[in-house]
C-alpha cells in the first residue's frame, strides 16, 4: 500500500498570539521535500521584529497561564494529545513529506510517541507534589515550584513533531509560555499542529516562529525577554546559544551530538534463537531514520571470537533493507533530509575509504527511479576500520556504520569511551554480570541494555560530555523549566533577641 504526497497551501504564517500572522517584512522561503525535491510550501523568513512580537505575546500571557491550575493545564495537554491521535495519518504523511523518512516510521514511531509525550506530562503534573520540611519545632521550609516565564526552544529537523513534543509539553506543564523555532528544513508538522490546536491554549501561550538561524534563531536565543533557552543541535551552535544566554544570565539545556557505541559480547551467539535475531536487528538499527538520529548506534563493537559469524548476519540483514518510495508502507529507509546532508554523508564515506576503512556493504548514493530520481537517497553502508578513524569519531548523521572488533571487556569499555560524546550506548549480552557492569562503566546518559532506539516517556534522556546536559522525556525536565520558591516560615511567637 502506498500513500501520496499530501496537499499544502501556497504559504503559511508564523503562529503568534493565538493566530497565524504574516512575517513583518513579507519575506518567505521555499520549503522542498527531500523525497523528490518538489515544492511543499512557502514559510515565513522571520526576522528580529517577528521574534519581538512573539516574545511580547508570550510575556503578556505568562502571568495568567502560570496561575492556571495543574488540572486545567493537564486537561489542555491531553486535548492536544487527542487531536494529534485523531489525525495520526495526516501528521505522519506531512512528516514523511517534509523530512523524507519512510511512512512506516512516522505512523508507528514519530506520531504515536509524540502523542504519548503530551499525555505523560499531563499526568505528571497531576501526580507530583512539592516538599515541606519541619526544620525545628517552629520552622517550616516549604518548596513551591514556579514557572520561569517565557521559554525559547530551538529544535532540529530529524524528528520535527517528536522533538516539538519532547520540548513543548514539559515547558507548558510547568506553567511557561513557549516560543518554538522549528528547523527551516522541516516547518510543516509544527504548522499543522498549530492549525489543529489553534484554540486550545490562551493566545500567546504557544508561539511558532519560522526562519533561518542567523536571522530568527539568533534574535530568539539572545532575547532579553526570554527566561530560558532549550536547544537540540550541534556543538558550535550550542556554544553560541550558551554565550547569548550568559548575557541574560539565563539557564539553558542542550542536547547535542553523539557517536554512540553498540557493543556485542560473544554470548549473544551462544544460541540461534529469538534473542540473537533481536541482537542482529539491534546492530542494523543504525539505518533507523536514515541514521539521522543523535543516538544513531554508529559505532559497532563486536567481540573478536564471534566477529565473522556475527557480521555475516548483520551484513545480510542490512542488504535486505528496502529503499524505495518513502510513502510506501513496505519501504524501510527513506530520503536523507536535505541536499547538504546528502553531500556531507557521501563525503564521509569517501574519507572513510581514504583512511583505509573497508566497505562491507553499501558505500554509494542510492539511485531511485522516476519521480524519486531527484531525491536524496544513500545506501545503508558498513565500514570496517579502527576507532581512531574520523568515521569512528565524527557524527555523520547518515546511514553509515563503523565497525571494529574488541578482545575483552576492558577493551570494549576503552573503545566505547574513546569519543568526545556521551549520549547513547548499547550493550548486548547474555551474561548477567556484564548486563550491569558494562553499562555502569560507559560514560553516556542513556545505555540501552539488550535493546536500542527505544524512547519511552518516563525514562530520562540526555547526554554526558560534549553531548550536552539536561534530561528530557521525564519529570526531571520539569525542573529545567522551573524556579524553586522556598518559603521559610516561623511559627515562633518570640523574637530573636538581637535588637
Amino acid at each position: 500500500m502506498s500513500y501520496k504526497k499530501p496537499n499544502f497551501k501556497e504559504k503559511y504564517g508564523n503562529f503568534i498570539n493565538g493566530k497565524f500572522v504574516d512575517p513583518v517584512d513579507g519575506e518567505y522561503f521555499e520549503n522542498k521535500s527531500p523525497i523528490d525535491n518538489s515544492l511543499i510550501a512557502k514559510y515565513p523568513r522571520s526576522k528580529k521584529e517577528d521574534v519581538n512580537n512573539a516574545v511580547e505575546a508570550a510575556n503578556a500571557a505568562k502571568e495568567a497561564w502560570g496561575n492556571t491550575s495543574a488540572a486545567e493545564r493537564a486537561n489542555l495537554l491531553n486535548k492536544v494529545a487527542d487531536i494529534i491521535e485523531q489525525h495520526l495519518e495526516e501528521f505522519a504523511l506531512v512528516e514523511t513529506c517534509d523530512n523524507g523518512k519512510a511512512i512506516r516510521e512516522t505512523i508507528n514511531a514519530d506520531v504515536p510517541l509524540s502523542v504519548d509525550h503530551w499525555r505523560y506530562f499531563a499526568s505528571v503534573i497531576r501526580a507530583e507534589e512539592g516538599t515541606a520540611t519541619e526544620l525545628d519545632q517552629n520552622t517550616l521550609s516549604m518548596n513551591i515550584k514556579e514557572p520561569l516565564g517565557v521559554v525559547a526552544q530551538i529544535i532540529p529537523w530529524n524528528f520535527p513533531l517528536l522533538m516539538l513534543s519532547w520540548k513543548v509539553p514539559p515547558a507548558l506543564a510547568a506553567g511557561n509560555c513557549v516560543i518554538l523555532k522549528p528547523a527551516e528544513q522541516t516547518p510543516s508538522s509544527a504548522t499543522l499542529l498549530m492549525e489543529k490546536i489553534a484554540d486550545v491554549f490562551p493566545p500567546g501561550v504557544v508561539n511558532i516562529i519560522h526562519g533561518f538561524g542567523p536571522e530568527a534563531g539568533k534574535p530568539l536565543a539572545s532575547h532579553s525577554g526570554v527566561d530560558k533557552v532549550a536547544f537540540t543541535g550541534e556543538t558550535t551552535t550550542g556554544q553560541l546559544i550558551m554565550q547569548y544566554a550568559s548575557k541574560n544570565l539565563n539557564p539553558v539545556t542542550m542536547e547535542l551530538g553523539g557517536k554512540s557505541p553498540n557493543i556485542f559480547f560473544n554470548s549473544v551467539m551462544d544460541e540461534d534463537d529469538a534473542f540473537l535475531d533481536k541482537a542482529i536487528e539491534g546492530a542494523v538499527l543504525f539505518a533507523f531514520n536514515q541514521g539521522e538520529v543523535c543516538t544513531c548506534p554508529s559505532r559497532l563493537l563486536v567481540q573478536e571470537d564471534i566477529y565473522d559469524a556475527f557480521m555475516e548476519k548483520v551484513i545480510a540483514r542490512t542488504k535486505a533493507i528496502v529503499q524505495a518510495n518513502p510513502y510506501d508502507v513496505n519501504t524501510m529507509m527513506g530520503a536523507q533530509a536535505s541536499n547538504d546532508q546528502f553531500e556531507k554523508i557521501l563525503s564521509y564515506i569517501n574519507i572513510g575509504k581514504e583512511e583505509g576503512a573497508k566497505v562491507l556493504t553499501g558505500g554509494n548514493a542510492c539511485k531511485l527511479e522516476g519521480e524519486f530520481a531527484n531525491g536524496y537517497y544513500i545506501e545503508p553502508t558498513i565500514l570496517e576500520g579502527h576507532n581512531k578513524m574520523r568515521v569512528f569519531q565524527e557524527e555523520i548523521f547518515g546511514p553509515v556504520l563503523a565497525v571494529t572488533k574488541f578482545k575483552d571487556e576492558a577493551e570494549a569499555i576503552e573503545i566505547a569511551n574513546d569519543t568526545l560524546y556521551g549520549l547513547g550506548a548499547g550493550v548486548w549480552t547474555r551474561d548477567a554480570h556484564q548486563l550491569y557492569q558494562i553499562p555502569r562503566a560507559i560514560k553516556a546518559g542513556r545505555v540501552w541494555v539488550n535493546c536500542y532506539h527505544a524512547y519511552p516517556a518516563h525514562a530520562p534522556f540526555g547526554g554526558y560530555k560534549k553531548s550536552g546536559f539536561g534530561r528530557e522525556t521525564h519529570l526531571m525536565m520539569m525542573n529545567h523549566y522551573r524556579q524553586n520558591k522556598n518559603m521559610l516560615i516561623s511559627y515562633d511567637k518570640n523574637k530573636l533577641g538581637f535588637f
Binding site: 532540529p156 527551516e184 558550535t236 551530538g257 574519507i351
Partner: protein, 119 residues
Amino acid sequence: MEFKRVAITEQAAKIVQQLKEKHGELIFHQSGGCCDGSAPMIFEKEDMYLDDSDILLGQLEYVNYYMNEEQFEYWKHTFLTVDITEGRGSSFSLEIPLGLRFIIHSRLLTEEENKALNN
C-alpha cells in the same frame, strides 16, 4: 615549501567575499556532532568567544578557520577543502539565508605534509 591544512574552492571564496561585504570581519568555526554538525560555520568575528582551546587551522580569504582542540586531535591528519553547495542548514551560519551551505571535502595529508604540520 609552506604546507597548509585548509583550502577553499573558487565558488566558496566568492560567497565568503559576498558575506564579508555584508557583515564585515568573519571567522570560520568547524562544528562537531548532530544534525547540522561536522560542517564549517561562518560568523561575524565578534560573535563567537574563542580561547586557547580553539585551534587556528589557517586562513581562507583572510578569514581565520578554527576548530576545537579536542576535535582537532581526530582531524589533524586530514586536509580540508571548504566548498559550497545548495542546501538549507539550521545553524546560525551566515550563508544559510542565501540557500547555500558551506561543506568540507577531506583528504588525508600526504606523508610529507603530515611530517611538516604535525611534528
